[in-house]
Amino acid sequence: MIFKFFNRIALAATVALATASAAVAVDISGAGATFPYPIYAKWADTYKKETGAGLNYQSIGSGGGIKQIKARTVTFGASDQPLKAEDLEAAGLVQWPQVIGGIVPVVNLDGVKSGDLVLDGQTLAAIFLGEIVKWDDAAIKKLNPKQKLPSTAIAVVHRSDGSGTTFNFTNYLSKVSADWKAKVGENASVEWPVGIGAKGNEGVANNVANTKGAIGYVEYAYAKQNKLTFTKLVNKDGKAVAPTTPTFQAAAANADWANAPGFYQILTDQPGAQSWPITAATFILLPKQPQDVAAAGEALKFFGWAFAKGGKAAEELDYIPMPAGVVALIKKSWAHVTDASGKPLASN
């Protein structure tokens, strides 16, 4: 009797679910990185008005996004930290960079304005290692012969929460400083030798703004919106560049995407006279053979639309669109996303 009753409920639920999924089959769900959340939300809004297809994106962090797409609980995952080609293979996923951002060192020094101060990778690493502790250290003076530097202590501020920003920042320091690589390494969270940890970009921005002599690192958009003092950085070609749209895009265009399996390419320390050294892409992860073919197809349409028409919206929010050459490569890679019979889902 009771068994029959439960059976009936289960049946009813199945029918309800089936009709529900048929009615909203075009809706896409995604989860992951918090950094691109504002632009994905804005794109989704415009896309829904144009096509009627909705996107529900939960910004739960890159690690969460990777876990969710591996468990196939969402249509796509998003991560600031790309998966290596062998991990993609093992999980049956494809991956591509969707939009670019930049990470900028910010400082709080009396009389120093944005772009006044020049730092290079080794010096930045030494500051965050606690080896350079005063602003008038010889290494900083050498890079800034004309700048008046106070003899105040350097207060290092870093992220306390695990974050793609930290991953890209520590990845850059590991590339330019063997010392950093050996002592700290690269990850979404690391064992910081010195400094205070603040929660989120806004926490770092606030702590740097409040503390004289502070240095921290934030997403470009936060530096710009909070009017923080950013520094210039010396890039791989030895040129001091400021964080701007052209220098971010130069780093993305100069990266060797064609020879990066699964687009595993971290945009820090890229060659080119114009390249900003701590540029970062944020990535999309999609199953090669999605269970929900309709949603995955819609997701590809959405991201194709975003490449074609979303550039202006991205720039308004201080993100940088992918260069056209890279987009062409990405679209080619979408042929690997197929339904059960092996037919590609992407129409272009």
């Binding site: 739960i60 690690g63 979404a188 969270s189």
Partner: protein
């Protein structure tokens, strides 16, 4: 009637048993989730300070230390303050002031912890940094033990600030509960004491406090429980550094702050497991604190021969 009683009896009993089942389930899943970390680090987890996600080497000393120190600071400030407010409200306060102060205390308890965190970060921390911490550092500069407690640059955020925030957050628990139990003292007892010539202080000391001891300790323990587990507000103001520093002005971390900060981006199995083991440790600490409180109450009741 008998049938109704039977159902009522069983319904309430299963509700009570459900609590045990849920608790058991929580313990089981915490232990199960911790297994990879326990296997990887063993007891070393409890004695290692280093917390390195890159090499996946984890130790819990810094968060345990931070949890205990910030809670201790909070209780040192909040217990005398809370009891003081409660005594004032029940014994000395003019009637017109009683309600506004009482309502204010309860409102303090209703503020979400994230608000305390934001307020701590934007208002309290800069204030401490500019006015309180430099004074503390220069005042205690020559005193042997205190000078190492209040050493280092005044960041504004750190363990002392976290302790302050926690004190404000647990204050309403201690105050409200103490006030309520003070109100349960039969007026005839207080009147009798006053009648034989006791001062207000003596009435409190020899009548009210002994009569309400159990309730007051309960309130203090509830506050301590909140202080041990408080997450968001602490994360904002503690500085989140996995280091054990003798200075209270230095940044530190707590168990719950570490979990909240790192859970979303913890990718490796050992990393996630180490965070769950931290949760297990917090559970054990809270359990022992509550057990110690029970034990203390038992001793008091035995002594008073009740």
């Amino acid at each position: 009637m008998a049938l109704f009683d039977f159902f009522f009896h069983n319904l309430t009993r299963s509700a009570a048993i459900l609590v045990l089942l849920i608790l058991g389930g929580v313990i089981f899943s915490l232990i199960y989730g911790s297994l990879p970390a326990i296997r990887a680090f063993g007891l070393g987890f409890l004695t290692t300070e280093s917390w390195n996600p890159v090499t996946e080497k984890f130790g819990a000393v810094a968060p345990i230390y931070g949890t205990l120190v910030t809670s201790t600071i909070a209780m040192i400030i909040a217990v005398p303050l809370g009891l003081g407010i409660a005594i004032f409200l029940t014994e000395l306060c003019p009637h017109a002031l009683r309600r506004p102060i009482g309502v204010a205390i309860e409102l303090l308890a209703g503020i979400p912890s994230i608000i305390y965190g934001i307020w701590g970060l934007f208002v309290l921390a800069p204030f401490l940094q500019q006015h309180v911490q430099p004074a503390l550092i220069s005042l205690t500069g020559d005193i042997p033990v205190l000078s190492s407690l209040f050493a280092g640059p005044p960041y504004g955020i750190g363990m002392l600030t976290a302790g302050f925030i926690l004190a404000i957050m647990v204050l309403p628990f201690i105050t409200s509960i103490s006030r309520d139990v003070f109100d349960t003292v039969p007026p005839v007892l207080k009147e009798a004491a006053s009648g034989v010539g006791c001062t207000t202080w003596e009435v409190m000391r020899y009548v009210v406090i002994p009569y309400t001891r159990v309730g007051v300790i309960g309130g203090v323990m509830l506050g301590l429980g909140r202080a041990l587990g408080e997450t968001m507000a602490v994360t904002f103001v503690i500085g989140n550094a996995h280091r054990v520093s003798s200075s209270l002005l230095a940044p530190g971390t707590t168990i719950s702050a570490t979990i909240a900060n790192e859970f979303t981006e913890a990718v490796g199995d050992v990393y996630t497991s180490a965070l769950i083991e931290l949760g297990l440790i917090l559970f054990v600490i809270t359990f022992f604190v509550l057990a110690a409180a029970r034990f203390m109450l038992m001793r008091i009741e035995q002594k008073s021969g009740a």
